[in-house]
């Protein structure tokens, strides 16, 4: 059954507030006015050894008004939602634009977008997590944690769940008006071993996604099965030999590869970064505009798309925060850089005809900036399954789950760890290793991708906490990918790196 936007959000005088801001801003000399009326509710529950440690139920609501006056931006926001406040914000935003004009030598313009009047969009989910009692949520996490604590070798268990319902009304001075509601969930559970070996942990591989509470049932993700296997995996990791550093063929599971895609492709193909807008904070990109259409990003097996369509994608929307309809496009095709992520201002800056709909603000208090869509690696339609991929490797490591990540400010040099590292010898899994990190340069790494898995290996991974911008903003984003094999990647021993 398709969901609708909650009645209590629709009961707000959304149109009257928007009209007041737009007419006030326009009267003040603005050539463009947009307004977002937002309400985001975030629930958080953390259990420590099956007992509640942290509980939060946080609703952020308010209005953000953005204007262009004489080619300069102005923005103002308030947590109070009313017609009077909307008018005051429009006045303040216009004043801010006029004040900032002397420092704005670059004339702001936006590419055109068709008008979408009175559109409504709701993400695909079944059970609003806020309709589920706090007790049921706690009991589910406590039950899974208790199973871990009852297992031999598990000394502690840590579990948390985070669930978000985001409601946005957007309107602009050109006539677009959209009202949207999205729901997303993330749950992670850690089993921890403490002993003479120090301490070690093993985390669930479940990926956050645009689901409701149904995601915590075993029919969407088999939590019970994964929890059952975790203690043995942890015990094997505790007893595992430390990796010998060197070059290995890596079979990277989608539960790990999504993060490598995020850091080395997702951020690198943000056009605002590529032209310098993030140079003081998040950084720039090696994938500069002059390389579009020629940069060999990776092997010919590499096909990357951006989209705001994917079912249950964390970046999936009907319309972005500038009123641009969701789209899908190529970013890397047959290994060559062919596309970027755009918002309306950046698209105009580089003389594009249209934005591909990547504007997002994480709160009414922040301006929309270009944020990441779902950026995904396409599976090979005729590609191998996981067993065939393992069988094809003579000497390598199979890496599952994400843990530590870091990449430089131009998205060249990265280093990742993971949750599980299984040695592969002569086409067979040969026990776990520990203390593994892999390190590479982006184009070398993707250039070494020699096998792309088939559709059976495909998983939609992602994160809630992608950071960008000043003041800092957080966005949720998904990355779908199959398993893939990379040739002779540099593997470090993290204990040796620590000088031990």
């Amino acid at each position: 059954m398709s969901k609708t936007v909650d009645a209590d959000f629709l009961a707000l005088p959304l149109s009257a507030i928007s009209d007041a801001a737009i007419s006030t801003g326009t009267s003040g000399g603005a050539s463009h006015v947009d307004i977002r009326i937002e309400r985001t509710r975030t629930g958080y529950l953390q259990l420590r050894d099956a007992k509640p440690e942290t509980q939060a139920d946080d609703t952020t609501a308010g209005i953000g008004v953005r204007v262009i006056v004489n080619g300069a931006w102005g923005f103002a926001s308030s947590p109070e939602i009313s017609i009077d406040v909307a008018k005051k914000l429009a006045v303040t935003a216009v004043a801010m634009a006029k004040t900032s004009k002397p420092l704005s030598t670059d004339e702001i313009s936006l590419v055109a977008e068709p008008v979408y009047a009175n559109k409504t969009w709701v993400s695909k989910y079944e059970i609003d997590p806020f309709s589920v009692s706090d007790s049921e949520k706690k009991d589910r996490l406590a039950s899974l944690s208790s199973k871990l604590l009852a297992a031999k070798g598990v000394n502690h268990a840590s579990a948390h769940t985070m669930f978000v319902k985001e409601q946005k009304h957007y309107a602009d001075s050109h006539g677009t008006s959209t009202t949207q509601q999205r729901v997303r969930m993330q749950t992670q559970i850690d089993a921890i071993s403490v002993g003479s070996h120090g301490f070690e942990s093993m985390r669930t591989l479940a990926q956050p996604a645009g689901f409701g509470w149904e995601w915590m049932r075993n029919d969407v993700y088999d939590w019970d099965s994964e929890i059952e296997k975790l203690p043995a995996l942890l015990a094997e990791k505790v007893a595992a030999p430390s990796v010998t550093p060197g070059r290995y063929d890596l079979l990277i599971d989608p539960t790990n590869l999504w993060l490598t895609i995020h850091e080395s492709i997702g951020h690198a193909t943000e056009l605002d970064r590529a032209i310098g807008y993030e140079a003081n904070y998040a950084g720039t990109s090696f994938a500069t505009v002059d390389k579009l259409g020629t940069l060999k990003y990776g092997s010919p097996l590499m096909n990357i798309t951006g989209d705001r369509f994917t079912d249950h994608g964390l970046s999936t929307v009907g319309y972005d925060d500038e009123g641009v309809a969701g789209q899908e496009w190529d970013i890397v095709k047959d290994g060559i850089l062919v596309g970027y992520q755009l918002d309306r201002r950046i698209a105009a800056h580089v003389n594009r005809d249209r934005s591909n709909g990547c504007a997002f603000a994480d709160s009414p208090a922040h301006v929309p900036i270009q944020r990441m869509p779902n950026v995904s690696l396409k599976p090979n339609p005729a590609g191998p399954d996981l067993n065939a991929m393992i069988e094809s490797i003579e000497d390598g490591i199979y890496i599952l789950g994400d843990k530590s990540w870091s990449i430089d400010m131009q998205r060249y040099n990265f280093q990742f760890t993971g949750q599980q590292f299984h040695r592969i010898k002569n086409g067979k899994l040969a026990g776990q290793l520990k203390d593994v990190a892999y390190q590479a340069t982006t184009t070398d790494f993707w250039g070494s991708m020699k096998v792309v898995g088939g559709p059976s290996t495909y998983v939609l991974g992602g994160a809630f906490n992608c950071g960008k911008g000043q003041p800092g903003q957080i966005a949720a984003v998904s990355h779908g990918c199959p398993a893939a094999i990379f040739d002779k990647v540099n593997v470090l021993n993290t204990v040796a790196e620590a000088g031990k």
């Binding site: 509980q55 931006w73 923005f75 009692s133 032209i275 140079a279 922040h366 900036i369 280093q415 620590a498």
Partner: protein, 463 residues
């Protein structure tokens, strides 16, 4: 909107639970952001966060549950209280229960929040515009951010807590790039009101560093004696503080755990007489003062809602190089049988006999690297607190006490706990601005340090 004080009185009066704490954060902010020497975004922001925490006696102790909203009208109060009570009942007896403070008063309770606005930039905007113009003429591109925030925290309770604190905070960050962006440098200034921000000094610093990069010297990965500016030291040790929860150490889950059980408190961690401490009343360097009481909207490894209203005084984390405290709630203090040492909102490092500036430290190094900042600092191994990250916006080769030129960036892998024992030289402690953790650590004073054999793991082609 209803005033925070009135809202607290109404909520705590209406609460029928055993106790009820309300934490309100009232925040106003103005910000400017620029790239390619032109303004890109700006904003005037007002934010409010109201957390209502219900405390209910249950079998086995006391339960706590909270609800946070940006706006609560008078008519919403019964609903919010009911939601907080329901959350408390669902949670059951809290592990971190200790009796709540009552009847504690601090600050000028009745005063209204003092909002900031774009006028705060009047002191720097003309000079910033001039710097933009001169930089364009000289083919230097500027990227940066200026922010000013006034934050007021109110804590009130049914049991008579009435605490209030005002905290202004701001910063200016500037990245300069030249020569088709093959040269890059950064400067950051912490401020409360922009009176200490001299754009001319930032301009001079940016230009000097870009000039240093005229000569390029390629260096391989390896271990180098490394000169870290005070902001870089702040970024490194802020991460260490985030791994300093006493309970985790006591349970064997931390770099500060002793093999066989217990914490490493009492262990000498530094080779020099180093002091690392937090002190809300610190006045030796202006502008580092912070709230002298606990205001927690939720419980966690570092915090407990039951500690709201407790006073925060100076805590020595390292004294004369020895680990003396880890971050405690009152509950974890009881469990670990150690003193209650809550986290504070500032962090200060001093090294005995540390004198001089970053430039003075350069003169003491015969063969090493001078960093500008670090970036993308993340945990690799919690057992050793091995961190990884990159150097950013200028690494310089220093020989015989002089900067020889710019070298390549590196990915580094090292541990701040290990770094403590490899201090070769220390400068004077100064009010400083973190880079990566700007906004997370706003009140910091650190010295520049020279660290022996810092592990530059690989060369990064990023610039």
């Amino acid at each position: 909107m209803i005033s925070p004080q009135d809202l607290i009185e109404r909520i705590t009066s209406a609460a029928t639970t055993d106790d009820c704490v309300v934490v309100i954060s009232e925040k106003t902010q103005a910000n400017l952001r620029w790239a390619n020497s032109t303004l890109t975004t700006n904003g005037v922001i007002a934010e409010r966060s109201i957390t209502v925490i219900a405390f209910i006696a249950v079998d086995g102790g006391m339960a706590a549950g909270s609800v946070t909203r940006t706006d609560i009208n008078i008519g919403d109060i019964p609903t919010v209280l009911a939601e907080a009570s329901a959350a408390a009942k669902a949670s059951g007896a809290a592990e971190d229960f200790v009796p709540l403070a009552k009847s504690v008063v601090s600050g000028t309770w009745q005063d209204a929040h003092n909002p900031t606005g774009p006028e705060v930039f009047a002191k720097i905007a003309p000079d910033l515009g001039d710097m933009f113009a001169r930089s364009v003429a000289d083919k230097i591109e500027l990227f940066g951010y200026a922010e000013h925030t006034n934050a007021t925290t109110f804590v009130g309770s049914k049991g008579g807590l009435r605490l209030r604190y005002d905290l202004p905070v701001g910063r200016v960050e500037m990245t300069g790039k030249s020569h088709q962006r093959t040269r890059s440098t950064w400067d950051g200034i912490a401020t409360r009101d922009f009176s200490n921000v001299k754009i001319a000094n930032i301009d001079a610093n940016i230009r000097e560093r870009l000039n240093w990069q005229a000569k390029k010297i390629d260096l391989p990965a390896g271990r180098y004696d490394t000169i870290m500016p005070s902001g870089t030291v702040t970024d490194l040790f802020t991460y260490m503080m985030w791994s300093s929860a006493a309970r985790a150490a006591h349970e064997g889950r931390s770099v500060f755990s002793k093999p066989g059980g217990g914490t490493r408190i009492g262990e000498k961690l530094s080779n020099v007489s180093m002091q690392l401490f937090s002190d809300p009343a610190y006045k030796e360097i202006a502008s580092l003062e912070c709230a002298p009481f606990v205001a927690n909207a939720s419980s966690g490894p570092f915090s407990s809602v039951f500690d709201n209203g407790q006073s925060v005084k100076r805590t020595d984390w390292l004294k004369n190089g020895e680990l003396t405290s880890l971050i405690q709630t009152r509950s974890s203090a009881a469990a670990t049988k150690l003193p209650y040492t809550p986290i504070s909102d500032n962090l200060i490092m001093k090294v005995d006999n540390g004198t001089g500036s970053l430039s003075d430290l350069v003169k003491k190094v015969n063969h090493g690297l001078l960093l500008t900042t670090m970036w993308y600092i993340r945990m690799v191994d919690a057992n050793t607190l091995l961190l990884t990250g990159l150097t950013r916006d200028g690494v310089y080769y220093v020989k015989d006490g002089e900067v020889q030129g710019a070298t390549n960036n590196f990915r580094w892998n090292d541990s701040p706990v290990s770094v403590l024992s490899r201090v070769i030289h220390a400068g004077a402690t100064e009010w400083t601005q973190a880079r990566e953790w700007a906004g997370d650590i706003d009140r910091a004073a650190f010295p520049p340090l020279v660290i022996k054999d810092f592990n530059m793991s690989t060369v990064s082609p990023g610039s």
